[in-house]
Structures are given as C-alpha cells and as structure tokens.
Amino acid sequence: MALYPSDIFAPQLQLLLAASVILSGCGSERQRPSTGVVAPIPVDALVVDFPSGEFDSNIVETLAGDLATVNPLVNETLAGSAVIGRILEGLITLDPNTGEVIPNLAKSWEISADNLQYTFHLRRGIHWSDGQPFTADDVLFTWDCFFAKQLDVDSGEPVLDENGRVKYRYSSRSTFGQLINGQEPLVEKLDDYTVRFTTPEVYAPFLLFGGGEEILPKHILQMSFDDGTLMDQWSVETAINEPWKIVGLNMFVLESYRPGERIVFAKNPNYWKVNTKGQRLPYVARVITKIVQDQNSSNVAFAQGLTDFESIGPDNVAWVKRGEERFDYTVLDMGPSSQTNFIWFNLNPGQNAEGVAYVEPYKFKWFSDQRFRQAISHGINREGIVRGVYFNRADILHGYVSPKRKLWYNDAIRKYPYSPETSLQLFAEMGFTLEAGQLKDPLGNSIEFSLMTNSSSGLRVEMATVFKENMAALGIDVELQFLDFNTIINKTSDSFDYEACMLGLGGGAPDPYAGKDILMSGGRLHQWYPQQVEPATEWEARIDALMREIGRHTDVEVRKKYFFEVQEILAEQQPLIFLVSPKDFVGYRNRWQNVDPTPLGGVTWNQESLWAEPNP
C-alpha cells in the first residue's frame, strides 16, 4: 500500500473532524434568562398617525455583508450600522419629507439666544428593552463614553500624546466626530429628564450631529466602562451567545445571530411609540434578515418574491420590474440617490517606513498639477457611463454635492463635459506631447498610472474599464487593479501604496458640515491626502477656513454662501473627480400596508407602522 504523506496527520485529523462535527451541531443558543420587565406605555409616548393595523407579521429581508461587531463605538461597516440602527436610536431624527430635524427620544428642545446652549427635554416614561427606565443618566453616560480620558494611574491627570492632545479611553468615530474644533461640548444633567449641552463656540450642526448620537444603556455598560472593557462589549460573540445583553431603545432587539447566515430581530416589548388606538408599536413581531454576499444576490431574492423590502441597483431594475405582477411587489423610482462615485490621485507627498516616497516624484508632479486633474476629468465620457453601464438610471455628478440636495447644490460650478480636445489642450499647456499615440511629459516619461478599485462592485469594474479606454484615447496608459475592499482601505489610509483610486461614498447627513472629515485637510476621509497636520496647499487651507465658518454660523444663507465657495474650489481643483450617481430604486411587497416611501426616508422610515396580514 502506498505511503500517504498525510499519515502523520491522521490522529490530528480525526480530532479535527470530530471537533468540527460536534461544533457544527452546536448551533443552538444558550439558555436565555427569563425576559425582562415589560413596562407600561410611557406618558410621553409618540402617537404615530397612520391607520392602525394587525399585529404579528414578520419582515423578511436580506443584508449584503456581515457583522463585525454590534458595538457602535467600534463599528465601521455599513452592515453593522444597519443592524445597530435597528436596536439603538438618538434624541432626534430627520423628517422623511423635508429632511429637517424632528423630535425622537427628546420631545422638545430650546437653543439659547447665543446659540451655545442646547437644552433637550426627554420623553418621560420610556423604558429600555429590558424594562429599565431611560433617563438623562443614560445620555450623560453615552457622552462620557465618547470623551472619557485616559488618566495617569498615579497623578489622576489626563495623559497627553506627543502633540499635547488628550488621549481618550474609548476613542471612536463619535469621539472625533463630536469634537468641535478640537474641544468637547459640555454635557450637564439638569434633572432626570433634561439634558443641557454647551458648545465651546457657535456650531450650527450640533442639533443634527449631537442629537443624532445613539444613546447607550448605562445600566448595562457602566461596569465595563469602569473596568476598561467597554470596547469588547457587544461583540459578535455576544450577539451569538447572549443577544439579550444588547439592550436598546429602538423598535427591535437582537434575538439570534448566525454568522454568514441570518440575523433575527424580535420586537422590543418596551417601544415608546403607539398608534392612534393607544396600542404599542411596532406591529411586526420579527425581522428575519438573511445574510447574502452582495447586492445582486439580494436583488435576486427580492425578485423571486422572497423578501419584503429592497433597494435595487439601477442595472437590475429592468428585470426586477418584470416580476411585479407575478410576485406581487412594486418597484419605485426614488430619484437621485446620495451615492457618489469618484476617482482621485494619491497626493500624499510623504514617505514610507523605508524612506521610499509613496508616489514616484515624477508622477507626483503630474498629479499635483491642477491642469492634469482637470484634463483627466474632461477626458471621461460620463454620458456614456450613464447610458451604457447604468442603463440610463444614473445622474452625472459634476461636483461634490448631488442634485438631490436641492438646498445646498451649487449649479454654477465649473463643469467638465466630455471633451478630449480640451484635455489635450490642457496637457499641451503642461508641456506634454503626443508621440505615436503615447502621451509624454517634457522629460520624456510616458504618462501612465495605475488605478485601483474594488472588485466586488461589478459596476465599478465596468466604469474602470471605460475609464481606461477613455484614457487610452488620450494617449495615457492606465493599469487597472481590482482588489478586495479591505485591501483598498488599507492602501488608502495606511500604506498609501497606490497611485489612483476609484471609490464612492453613500448616505451622509444632509448638513454640509457632515463632510468635514472629507473636506478638511485634517480629516480621516480626506482621501487624497488624509490627516494633514497643516493644510498642504492654499486651496485646502481656504476650504478649511470656509468649513469652519460653515460650522460657526447658523444662518442658512450665510452657510450657503460659504458652502457654494467650497464647491467652486473643489470643482476647480478636482481633487476628487466625480463621475456619476446612481438613481435610487426601492421595492416592496404589496402585502405591506402603510408604506409611504419618500426620497429622503426610503421605504422603511415608518417601520413601526408597517403591517401585513400575519404569515401563515
């Protein structure tokens, strides 16, 4: 008998096989403790004005992507936000029609005359999903989590980093997001149901940003806050084994989670909204979320009548619509979406650990010339992309703000229609010449660069292919690299080992200041050269100054003026070369009542009022 090289593995093999068989069988959740208290309906419960309906139906939906954590202080993924967003909520929310700030957990608020103090009045009688009362203590606790400082063990003084800035114990997106010009707002409890915030300077978007923070339960997380394990809480482990520990105020709680397969939410028995009959909402008993690989699979599931609500990709609308009759659902056009796609060049002049410049100097010279970027922008056939790649269901993006944001959209910015002649003119101005179809710079280098984008988005891959051809027509050789999304993030925020990149952003609050991470030179998401200590160029410094003004003033007209100038500068300089923005399409199964889709709110903004005949 032949000698099998793996004979040496045999004993371990058996162990492994046995282990894997046993483990896979252990899918059952651990015994949960008896459910918490169901408190009475709050005094200040929000009465929702929709026709009342029946209880106990289930929502079935899909989620593209998987959870990495359920801790909002840690989470960085869209999928995570979607899940956390079902469980937690904030003091304010946005009106689905106008986009303005409206009360949520806070029933009202006052802003002082000097615009520095915000006093929120919380609804009385609200209880967490486990029955404990919700009070101002929870709000204070949440903000404590953001701004708790690392204290020196001996002196009790805050620890400072090399730049003299305080170090935070639990730094998260919220920590940096809520700093106003580097300073923390003051949070005070006036009484059990009143909280007052004082901002260090006038900060227009505070109501939106500060009020929108998801409130964390003090009675659950206080202990871990004290002993330093706060960031370890509400991990995937917890979600799988002890989901009842994830306590929130929103309409659902986590019932079970199987990684890679499904997430099940159950109704929050203590939710604080009621219908006109005084019955506690939501009507839905469960939300069953199946985890799928990508949006395409998600669309497919919806198109076969398997799920209830879906956001449909523009290239899929055509065939999904065909199933409307057969599977009894409706597809709606919600107009322009907030999703963007853009290309940028690596403008980081630094060096890596080995002293090698991130971008080769001669290429850096091209990239940092504004005319180069403008020429490239003129050389992109955006109409072609809209027509060919997006089946005409997208809008050309001329600048940073999409036409959807009517209030802030500056139409007078410089635009870049498809014009290879203009591109060549600009290149000529830079001293470039065309030799046998190949563009060269004055030193004789052939103009070429590599562009990376994420392989998981079929539409981006197609756009990249079009881009390459557009550039080839200009005599520029572009090498395409299709990488995994995480690898890309790594390269653009850590190793800076790339030349050009194509990505996009989605969502985002409607306030112009929401883009501060992207637009300000010190921002984490300032893609082309993030986290600058000092603005690298004049125009970036100007944008920084403008953004500060935008934060400082509350008068809409004043803010608009500044923001318009920001858009003009961005259009002139093209640090981000915008491409197209896909339109928004949603679908829902017709069995659902009270569906009221709006462009700003989507189709499930009023989830608590959605009801259907209970599933058989």
Partner: protein, 304 residues
Amino acid sequence: MLVFILMSLAPGDFLTPVKAQRDVPVELIQAIEIEFGLDRPWYVQYWKWLGNVAQGNLGHSWAYKLPVVDLIGQRLLATLLLSVSAFVFAWSIAIPLGVLAAVYKDSIFDRIASALAYAALSIPEFFLALLFVFVAAQTGWFPLGGATSIEYDYLNWFGKVGDRAYHLILPTLALGIGSIASIMRIMRANFLDTMRAEYVTTARAKGLSEFAVIFKHTLRNAINPLVSSFGFAFSGLLSGALMVEIVLQYPGIGQLMYQSILREDQFVVLASVMMGCSMLVLGNLLADILLAWSDPRIRLEKKK
C-alpha cells in the same frame, strides 16, 4: 507543509490587515503574534502552527472574527454533502449505463451514450454550472444558489431535509455529469474486458444464467479498477465542487477558500486547503479499504 510554504511566500506580515481593523485590541494581536511565532523565522512558525492544529486551534478568521474551526465545521459538512450526493448520483447512473453500453455494444444506445459521455467530459464544470443558473433564472424552477432558504430555521425537520435537497439539485447535477461520463466509459471498457475473460466463458459453460454471469462475476471484477481510482475521482470531485460552489453560491469549503483568498484571510485559507487535502486522503483511505474488501485476492495476499 507545502501549503504553509506558499502562505509564507505571500508578502508582508499577514497581520497587517488585522491591524487595520481597529477593534482588535492590541493585546490580542501581540498574543497571537507570540502564539504563532510570527516574529520568528518561517520554520518556527510552521512548527507552532502544527502544534496548534494538533490542539484543535486553527487560528482566527479576520473577516468573520471567529475561530476558524467554527467557520469550517459548517462549510465542511456542506461540501461533504455535495460531494457525496454528486458521487452517489454519478455512480448510480454511470455504472448501469456502462454495463448496458457494454452488453449492447455497438448499438445505437451505445453510440449515443458514448457520444454524450464525450460531450459531458469536455464541458468545463463552471460553464455547466453557469448554464444551469441561466436555466434556473429563466424558468424559476430551481433556486439560484445557496444551501438553504431564508425560512430554513422555521421549517420542521422534514422541511429542512427537503429544503436542503431542493438546493442540492443543481449543484449535484453540475458536478455529477462530468463524473458520469468518465466513469461510464471506464466501466464499459472494463466490463468488456472481463466479459471476454476466461472465467466468464467457464461460468457460461457451466450453464449459469446470463444474469448471474453478468452480475456475480463480471461486475465484481470490472469494478475493481474503478474502485482503485476512487481516490482520484474524489479529488476531482473536490476540485470540481469548488467551481460549482462559487458559481452557485453554495456555502461549502471551496467557496470559503475562494473568498478568503480574495480577502487575504490567511488562517482560513490555510485551514481550508488542509481540510481539502484531508478529505482527499480520507477518500483514498476509504478506497483502499473498499478495494481490500471487495477483492478477495488482496485479502488472501495479506493473510499470507
């Protein structure tokens, strides 16, 4: 071990993607570095990995934030299920077909079967899977992928089995068809060979019924060479399963490995390749056992 060498070839410290994920506490990273000896040369790493494997610790998956063992368990079963069902499917059709083709040699049936076999052998597996997805999408008769439906957990036991079976139809077909072809041809050839062998003529002369002749004697001997290629057939199945899993989005080990490679989730890749190889070895082992059992000659030799 080969696998490990390959992994080491991958540039850079493979914890880099982990460090990029901010929620993994620094202490954990350091602990893992020590545990897996990443600060030591590669042969030390390999030794430590082996040691860990022996204790059932296959490391952590970075994409899923779970110990690899948990992740692999479910997937392994899924792939096994698929391979076994394809195997059963293929063999149960191929053997009778092969026998029939041999018995009715040179008839229309034989010619058509051979031609079909040829065709089936030449189709790339993933293309076949792709065609099936096409058919499924157009007709809506079959699920487009996955192993279970959304409502899986709410079905009773019977429903669950049925659901899994329903989802297995297309992948099994895609995998099995190729196997059918090759097995059938070999079966037919072997059968013809043995039919002409002496002991068959002897048996006929002894007056045994045609039926008995075919089944008792010829079949047993014809199968032997086939069984010995069992191992390689299994290997082929596993490779084929990988492509089918990916196209039909069936969550097995093949698909896991593919996704992990894309995400540079090192531990998972290592583990899945190892699993794949192990399953193969198992297959070969089984084959040898079967061979020994079915062929008395070998047993006799051993006794001597």
